[in-house]
Symmetry: C2
Subunit: 338 residues, 2 copies
Amino acid sequence: MKSTRIVLASRPTGTPEPENFRTETVELPAPGEGEALLETLYLSLDPYMRGRMSDAPSYSPPVAIGGTMVGATVSRVLESRDAAVRSGDIVLGYGGWQTHSVEPIRQLRRLDPAAAPVTTALGVLGMPGFTAYSGLLTIGRPKSGETVVVAAATGPVGSAVGQIAKIQGARAVGIAGGPQKVALLRERFGFDAAIDHRAPDFADQLAAATPDGIDVYFENVGGAVLDAVLPRLNEYARIPVCGLIAGYNATALPEGPDRLGLLMGMILRKSLTVRGFIQREFAAEQFPAFVEQMPQWLADGRVRYLEDVVEGFDHTVEAFQGLLVGKNVGKLVVHVAD
Amino acid sequence: MKSTRIVLASRPTGTPEPENFRTETVELPAPGEGEALLETLYLSLDPYMRGRMSDAPSYSPPVAIGGTMVGATVSRVLESRDAAVRSGDIVLGYGGWQTHSVEPIRQLRRLDPAAAPVTTALGVLGMPGFTAYSGLLTIGRPKSGETVVVAAATGPVGSAVGQIAKIQGARAVGIAGGPQKVALLRERFGFDAAIDHRAPDFADQLAAATPDGIDVYFENVGGAVLDAVLPRLNEYARIPVCGLIAGYNATALPEGPDRLGLLMGMILRKSLTVRGFIQREFAAEQFPAFVEQMPQWLADGRVRYLEDVVEGFDHTVEAFQGLLVGKNVGKLVVHVAD
């Protein structure tokens, strides 16, 4: 079986460009014992992938030059060498940026297409949804009446953070880029306040939208949004840090003055908790509760989601470039095959 | 009864200077119902007092211009208007920088001079000791075999942090300024490694002393020590932040580049927990355990302490200036009266 794949041709400096990638078609090996041959139906595109393109120290090793870009996939089983999955099953795997893959079956999760659209396994019912759920409930711990702020709030993490915060009785303030997304925050996701970070008076709008300060800031963007949030934080505020997309394409530190000590001083004076996390840390303990609870919230209409489906594997690189500047609206997936 | 007191004459810019203070002698009012008239025996000098001289936003309001500088005191009761304390009792209070005070009796804690030297109520058995105990055990949570690093390690907080870390089975690395203090860290406090932050190769020495990285950094200084610690932190490291003395006299942010985003990136990539705290947050829950356990550790010789006693109330300002640049060795107290 042949697979068409996108490999990392060189490490991007700043914005990833088409020349940083190369499309190849290779013959896949036959699946061995405990493996399956899969056809990719949907490929997930997520901000963390920018980190894998870089060889700066990180929580996961980088993709090698010439290696296939990694990524979660929803796939159809074409051939299985283990009774756990059968030909024709739809599974969640980690096939990467390619049309076909051979994967260890123990790393696959069977999906029930009758229970929910299979793409939700890449978004609201998958890693992004669990990132929101575990980070907000374990680190953020919003109490009833508190104010929760999240940016990239139409995205799969941010929209889930806001809606789960509401379920906890908190006030949810969402930040997004552009009037269309801001309207979605209020109308589709039920945020109590929605702010456009591109507005010239963004910091003033944020202050007006958080009259009682901010108790939880779910950090997934960094940059100018963080700058506006910091002075609004209340004593004992919690900041789960799951991403800093605003800086992912940066090639140098911003010009001074150096505010590292300023941030430490705020952490001290306000008794802040700033806690970085990757959702897998909480998987063993909380994923079972998540897969129980989140589908119910979806069924009840208490959590809604948006997907941005790009048609065709050959648009993958362009779609990923757009993700880093917020062109997608909702969870970005590439539709590779039917 | 007359009291001689040191009031804040003006807010210091940078290092507090003698002209920022004024010594006055005033007639105290007679103690009212529920109050006591006290004679200060020992005045505690602590880094947090620098914050009270400034009107920048903080966790406590500043001392007013013309107001008496605040501070914990060990005092003798001269006159009591409540049965809870009697004339002649020795009490821990918050009399401030003055020779006599009138204080609400419910804010006083009676001390037993037979149980421990009364000055320990200002240090190892008081606020600094409890800062170390609560911050290390609640936020730092060192596990057996982990590496704990603390600076200002001959001070009352740092020395307690190192020794409590050892009791938990962790490896304790202490940082101090100058060879005399470094020798004390090993010989008196039993740190596993001791480093002089004034050494030109300080960062290299810290790396050599932390071959398995750093799991807990108890932050009380900031500045160059923090810079050297950051790259040594392990995944899931915890940073209780109780002070940043290196920056307390700063009048402007340091020159760039701006490393605020760099720090956030480290927090993300290493899943760090950075948590500011003031010991009073933990007092209700943990002070009872502390007053039970810490005296036992002292009695067992598992925790030792050093005091730096300055003779005479008129040396208070000079002693406080020295504290901010590390001239004291151990807990700094002013001996005001016998």
